[in-house]
């Protein structure tokens, strides 16, 4: 059994939040679970474009809630976690961090020296230690990496993986979303194997893909959940939604919650005449 994925929640007190994932291994695992999310961070290798982005992965609150409910993940929140973590750093912790940093440098030094020697050997030069100048150059060329994931928050994060607490966090998250029933709709679609992504740019709540969006076109533009009994269909919207679908080969889908939380879906498309 894989470990649960920690999801960081950026939130202000009394509001919903933004679920983010920073670990590439976790992102991989979520994808296997049918949750693609949206990569939103700048890729250090290509900082001048928006087509390919990197960590963090931003999730919809419905995705986060589903992952927690299914036991695949847990949410981590709390505005001052980092401040506390830094404040609680003891002399030991600092020594540990220092040691780690030094270890990384030492590895790099060893590697670079080795490379240097090999290079000289190829050129047929045998030379002793290059003295101060060389070592100054070496020190200046050591790489300081800014990591994706936090080490400071590691211990704190694990403390959130408690069922009761998670339930509370998820409830809070969903209660501050626009439409609680959208979550039920998400769950129903996910259980039928669809990958989902935010759908506003297509005029829906979700866009549904029959498999991984990397490989497949989307099939459905899913509307925000309707009141099954009382909310009449907005026919003007249906007309434009159906029309839109014809152009982009997506069906326009409406759904509502029946009794016992079951969702009834209907798919709409322009009939092609009239």
């Amino acid at each position: 059994m894989d470990d649960k994925v920690p999801i960081s929640l950026v939130q202000a007190p009394g509001s919903s939040g933004v679920p983010l994932v920073f670990s590439i291994a976790a992102i991989k695992r979520l994808r296997e679970l049918g949750v693609a999310g949206i990569l939103t961070g700048t890729l250090p290798a290509a900082t001048q474009q928006n087509a390919f982005l990197g960590i963090p992965l931003r999730l919809m609150i419905e995705e986060a809630a589903w992952l927690v409910e299914e036991g695949f993940a847990y949410l981590v929140c709390g505005g001052k976690l980092l401040e506390d973590a830094v404040g609680n750093l003891g002399a030991e912790d600092v020594a540990m961090m220092q040691k780690k940093a030094e270890e990384s440098f030492e590895e790099q030094r060893a590697f670079k020296r080795q490379q240097h020697i090999e290079k000289l050997q190829r050129l047929g030069i045998t030379k002793q230690d290059g003295g101060e100048e060389d070592s100054r150059l070496l020190e200046a060329s050591l790489f300081v990496e800014t990591k994706n994931e936090s080490t400071l928050l590691k211990h704190k994060e694990a403390q959130f993986d408690i069922a009761v607490l998670q339930k509370k966090i998820v409830d809070n998250l969903l209660s501050h979303g626009k439409n609680h029933n959208d979550y039920l709709m998400y769950r129903a679609l996910r259980s039928q194997g669809y990958f989902l992504s935010p759908g506003a740019r297509f005029g829906g709540r979700f866009i549904a893909y029959p498999g991984d969006p990397l490989r497949y076109h989307s099939h459905l533009t899913v509307q925000a959940c309707l009141d099954y009994r009382h909310e009449p269909l907005d026919l003007l919207q249906l007309v434009s939604g159906g029309r839109l679908g014809t152009g982009v080969k997506k069906l326009w889908v409406v759904g509502g919650v029946k009794d016992d939380e079951e969702i009834e879906f209907f798919s709409v498309e322009w009939a092609g005449f009239g």
Binding site: R229, G256, G272
Partner: protein
Amino acid sequence: MNNSEIISLVRNNLVHQQLWTDVDQHELVADQLYVFSGLPPNKLSNDDELLCKEWVIPVELSQYRPGLLTLEVLQSIFDKIKCKRLTLGITNDDGTVVYYFVYKGLHKPKQN
């Protein structure tokens, strides 16, 4: 649902503009909900094997009245008529009728 008012509008449109044949009217809920069955002049979708009987629900789109077609009503229609799809015949304030397919559940879009 005030469907009785738009029955003749949709019927005439089907028979004399869209040139459907064998158009019959059925009452689903007395004085409220009607449905037409009929045969279009050609297959309506390439995904269909053969030309088949289609079911058309006349509904009204109004610029200033709330609509009456809820999901529950749609479901009740599907319960009564066992069919692959319904077609909504939406009548507009300008006298035109536009037609939209409704499938029950999640359906695949036409492939091309």
